[in-house]
Symmetry: C2
């Protein structure tokens, strides 16, 4: 672990995983609309939402995706991590009241470059709502010790 309690690349092995969950509420959607400026009617207007294939308002896809960033930054690798890339496939809508579970699983560790590749997935119940892959740069105990010498 690094001094911020995050995992160093030397601690990380293929198959390790971490997750978080959050119930998506109306307040989340309103606040996310404000910070993102994404005020698409399908997020803001229940009457319009009912006329769409979704049958009502849905949450912003990037709102659920941001939970993946939270797991990477808070849990695995955790503090000290630098986000390099993320791919996202939006596979199903998230509605107000849904609890989104965001899970990351280590797929590959490139120790010499401090890179970690993780499968990233958001689910609601049994349904996958987002899948994709993240690449992050983790801290390194070896590098920290070499710098301290």
């Amino acid at each position: 672990m690094n001094p911020q309690n995050g995992y160093d690349v030397e601690d990380i092995t293929v198959g390790m995983s971490a997750e978080t969950a959050k119930t998506i509420t109306d307040a989340d959607i309103v606040l996310f609309a404000g910070v993102s400026t994404d005020v698409n009617a399908v997020h803001m207007d229940e009457e319009y939402g009912r006329t769409t294939q979704f049958g009502g308002r849905i949450a912003h896809g990037m709102l659920s995706a941001s939970l993946l960033s939270a797991v990477l930054g808070n849990r695995l690798p955790g503090p000290g991590v630098v986000y390099m890339s993320q791919s996202l496939r939006f596979r199903a809508p998230v509605r107000i009241g849904d609890t989104v579970h965001a899970k990351v699983t280590v797929k590959e560790v490139i120790a010499e470059k401090c890179r970690v590749i993780l499968d990233t997935m958001c689910t609601v119940g049994d349904k996958v709502v987002i899948d994709g892959e993240a690449m992050v740069m983790a801290t390194s105990r070896r590098k920290r010790e070499a710098a301290a010498r």
Copy 2:
């Protein structure tokens, strides 16, 4: 255009583009931390931020990325669009007070499937902070007219 004033797939041609810009403030970061649950010290703790390679607090990468969702949902294709996928490379940090310009440019139109592929980019000044690609499903005038017959 569709009844919500968004572009139908029949209106969209390669090279069309749209953009938005937003100045990232402390309030954005605090609110984004709340909705995402991403309270990584590099976003919340200026003293810790100063000890990192970034030299201070930085915004969540997904906060800037969410501006891309806003351009797609508000401007091009605009209302009626369905977000299918997004890839993101986080290339440089965004700091409080930076103005992020988010731009999308049509790269490919797959008319028969109503799919549009767009280059997506966020910049601060001359620096690219995020690049990647989005795929969306646009509305179709042809399908709407066929359904009305």
